[in-house]
């Protein structure tokens, strides 16, 4: 009885502490943040690159290194920056991409490439053996009916729908240059590389960009148009690594040099994309055969995978939401109490919210690197708006007679806030926390794009491999987590609020 009036507030604080504590306790040891002594491989978000990434993992593990794989991180520039920054130690790349795109300013050529790389503290293996150039593909039946044989033939049919991967749309060696080289009249749309194939097959797209080693070329009976003006350069696959990579690890990577013909790679891609074999398994099977390695791909059960992703997701959500509650409520109070700072606070959190979540995640990477930290920070900023605004609104909408009664009693401003105003606004504040939680859990799936793991990881893989099961492996637990968190907050609300304040 003695603390009856201040109880709701202290309960709120202990509730927040509980959420933070839980998420810290759930923090996985080495899952997303490899220790300094271990090595990290990165890979781009398409199947071939992921397979090569796993192979780099396997050959270095075979030499006794502890290696983590941040798979399907993003595009070329993202991986390059992560390598130069030291977030990752190795990733598979293509010579053409380096010369035409990443190091274009340096004006280097294939012969000077190694020297140019050295200036960034980066080295490369000899070519892995295959050339995975860009190509333009159309459905075979369309190619036959319109007599399309070369890229230039597209000029005769301005009505054709072109859809290119987003990276290809922007690259200097991509669509802008291609359009110039062949004087093509069409406008192109940007689509995800893997969705492009689906668009082509279902007829919504007529021509897409592809990689010449893509497994889908055979699977979907796609005709590759001849690049008779030699627009696309050579894209020899190599492994890029930091020059500070231990020599033994480097020797491991060199085992992969010259191992892959275009046919071999297309076959491996088909194993993963068409036969739906997991990339680590594809990689290990091949290496065990070709190099006599004894690599074993860890194939955790679905439950184990969900368990790991749940831990990662809980860390992202728990930390960012906990921080947003700890900071958002005071900011909301400030907004309600200060005529000068208040409008500014509301505006700033509002503006933050208008930044697309993907962009917010991306801008966190240059200063913070890849991993969970930038994702937590972005999610925290994203969760502020509902908490700040609901706290502000809750405090501003208190009934005048009640506020005046508190004033007339002669309570200090702090006492009035803690004993009267915050408890009265608690329902509104908690509603803001619930909205923030739902937004946060959903948005956290995007964290996988910057190496934060979580439920977004199987969703990304699932989209890439057109595997509904994997997509559900991310979306279903995310939905369940949302329900559980809302139930938890509901229980919190019931314990926190006196019976007179419940609905």
């Amino acid at each position: 009885m003695t603390l009856a009036f201040s109880l709701p507030f202290s309960r709120l604080l202990s509730g927040i502490a509980l959420v933070l504590g839980l998420s810290l306790a759930a923090r996985p040891a080495a899952q997303a943040q490899p220790a300094d002594s271990s090595l990290t491989v990165g890979s781009k978000k398409f199947t071939e690159n992921v397979i090569l990434g796993w192979m780099a993992v396997d050959v270095m593990q075979a030499r006794g290194f502890e290696v983590a794989h941040r798979s399907q991180l993003g595009g070329s520039r993202f991986l390059w920056d992560a390598l130069v920054r030291g977030d990752i130690d190795v990733y598979p790349e293509y010579t053409g991409t380096l010369i035409q795109e990443i190091l274009a300013e340096s004006g280097g050529t294939r012969s000077t490439l190694a020297d140019t790389l050295a200036r960034y503290g980066v080295a490369m293996t000899e070519p892995l053996g295959f050339n995975n150039t860009y190509a333009i593909g159309v459905r075979a039946d369309l190619a036959d009916s319109l007599d399309l044989r070369t890229i230039g033939d597209l000029r005769r049919h301005p009505e054709l729908q072109l859809g290119f991967s987003n990276e290809f749309m922007d690259r200097s060696d991509g669509w802008p240059g291609l359009q110039d080289a062949y004087n093509l009249p069409q406008d192109a749309r940007g689509v995800d590389h893997d969705l492009g194939y689906r668009g082509l097959v279902n007829g919504s797209l007529d021509a897409i960009d592809l990689y010449s080693t893509d497994a889908e070329i055979e699977q979907y009976d796609i005709r590759v148009l001849e690049d008779n003006r030699d627009y696309f350069g050579t894209y020899e696959a190599i492994l890029l690594y930091r020059t500070d990579l231990p020599a033994a690890a480097e020797a491991g990577l060199q085992q992969l040099e010259g191992r892959f013909s275009e046919q071999t790679m297309q076959g491996l891609n088909a194993r993963a994309k068409i036969d739906q074999v997991d990339e680590p398994v594809v990689a290990a099977n091949y290496l065990n055969e070709a190099l006599n390695l004894e690599a074993t791909a860890e194939t955790p059960s679905r439950m184990e995978r969900v368990g790991v992703r749940t831990e990662e997701h809980l860390v992202l959500v728990g930390l960012s939401l906990g921080l947003a509650i700890l900071l958002g409520i005071p900011l909301g109070i400030l907004a309600a109490k200060s005529r000068i700072v208040g409008p500014g606070v509301l505006l700033v959190v509002g503006i933050i919210y208008t930044i697309p979540s993907l962009a917010l995640l991306a801008v966190m990477v240059p200063p913070l690197g890849v991993g969970q930290l930038p994702a937590v920070l972005a999610l925290f900023l994203y969760s502020l708006l509902p908490i700040v605004w609901n706290t502000y609104t809750g405090l501003n909408d208190l009934s005048r007679p009640l506020v005046e009664s508190a004033e007339a009693l002669g309570l200090s401003a702090a006492s009035k806030l803690v004993r009267v105003e915050i408890p009265l606004a608690a329902r509104s504040i908690l509603a803001g926390v619930k909205i923030a939680a739902v937004i946060n859990i959903g948005t956290a799936t995007l964290g996988a794009l910057i190496g934060a793991g979580g439920y977004g990881q199987p969703i990304l893989t699932g989209i890439r491999r057109a595997n509904l099961g994997l997509i559900l492996e991310g979306t279903v637990p995310a939905a369940v987590l949302t329900i559980l968190v809302l139930a938890l907050l509901e229980i919190l609300e019931r314990t926190l609020l006196p019976r007179s304040m419940r609905t």
Partner: protein
């Protein structure tokens, strides 16, 4: 006890209180009466510094209200309003004890004072653990009075404390309130628009109209020597309902 000298309060172009001089005598019950919008509640809120005058001065016990430490000053003035004054998230006991808790009273002192006040305002003790929404209107106002009396203030400011109650309960509470005021010897300022209530409580009555005091004195003087046709009309208007029974 409380002195208002040439006090005016403007809200933009609206004049809520217009050049009022008023002295509230210690130990007396002063009733402010008048139609809606006549400025009586504004006057009350000027007395405890909830609002500051546009012109003129308000003093409490010789100290200008606007210069005094408002917190200390308000601890010496209990304040009860018509409705909605109790905090819905606190039980009756916690509402009444709120200020003492804020001031850091030890538990036993709080409990003793609550027991004393429960007895004084005749609230059934089991009602103390109920929330305002679970109390009747009359019980709510008894708790409000406990909260106002918690620190044993010199002055009670009551803004239509009985206005929302039905007649039977109202009469009951009127009796109780008057005996409490007399027993405790408090200085009371009561705002009402009910002429019967004014007569029942008031040692001194001030009738307001459009922010000005039209007549001041005893209820007897107001009824029998109205200073203007308005005073006469105001009193007549409230007697009218019973007039046909007086033949």
């Amino acid at each position: 006890m409380i002195t208002l000298t040439g006090v005016s309060k403007h809200y933009g172009d609206t004049v809520a209180v217009d050049d009022v001089d008023l002295t509230v005598e210690a130990g007396q019950t002063t009733v402010l009466i008048g139609p809606s919008g006549s400025g009586k509640s504004t006057l009350l809120r000027l007395m405890n510094g909830l609002i500051t005058p546009t012109a003129g001065a308000v003093t409490f016990d010789g100290t200008p209200v606007e210069q005094a430490s408002t917190h200390a000053l308000r601890h010496r003035m209990g304040y009860v309003i018509q409705e909605g004054g109790l905090f819905p998230h606190l039980t009756g006991r916690s509402n009444a004890a709120l200020l003492a808790r804020h001031l850091g009273w030890p538990d036993d002192r709080v409990d003793a004072r609550i027991a004393e006040l429960t007895d004084l305002v005749q609230l059934p003790p089991n009602r103390l653990e109920q929330y305002p929404s679970e109390l009747s209107g009359g019980q709510r106002q008894r708790v409000s009075l406990m909260r106002a009396l918690m620190l044993d203030p010199d002055v009670l400011l009551l803004d239509e404390p009985l206005g929302a109650l039905d007649p039977m309960i109202r009469a009951d509470l009127q009796d109780d309130l008057r005996s409490i005021f007399r027993d405790l010897g408090k200085t009371v300022v009561l705002v009402t628009h009910d002429i019967g209530e004014a007569g029942y409580f008031g040692d001194a009555v001030a009738l307001l109209r459009r922010g000005r005091i039209v007549q001041r004195g005893s209820m007897h003087a107001l009824v029998h020597a109205p200073s203007s046709p308005f005073v006469e009309d105001f009193i007549q208007a409230q007697r009218a309902p019973l007039e046909h029974l007086e033949e």
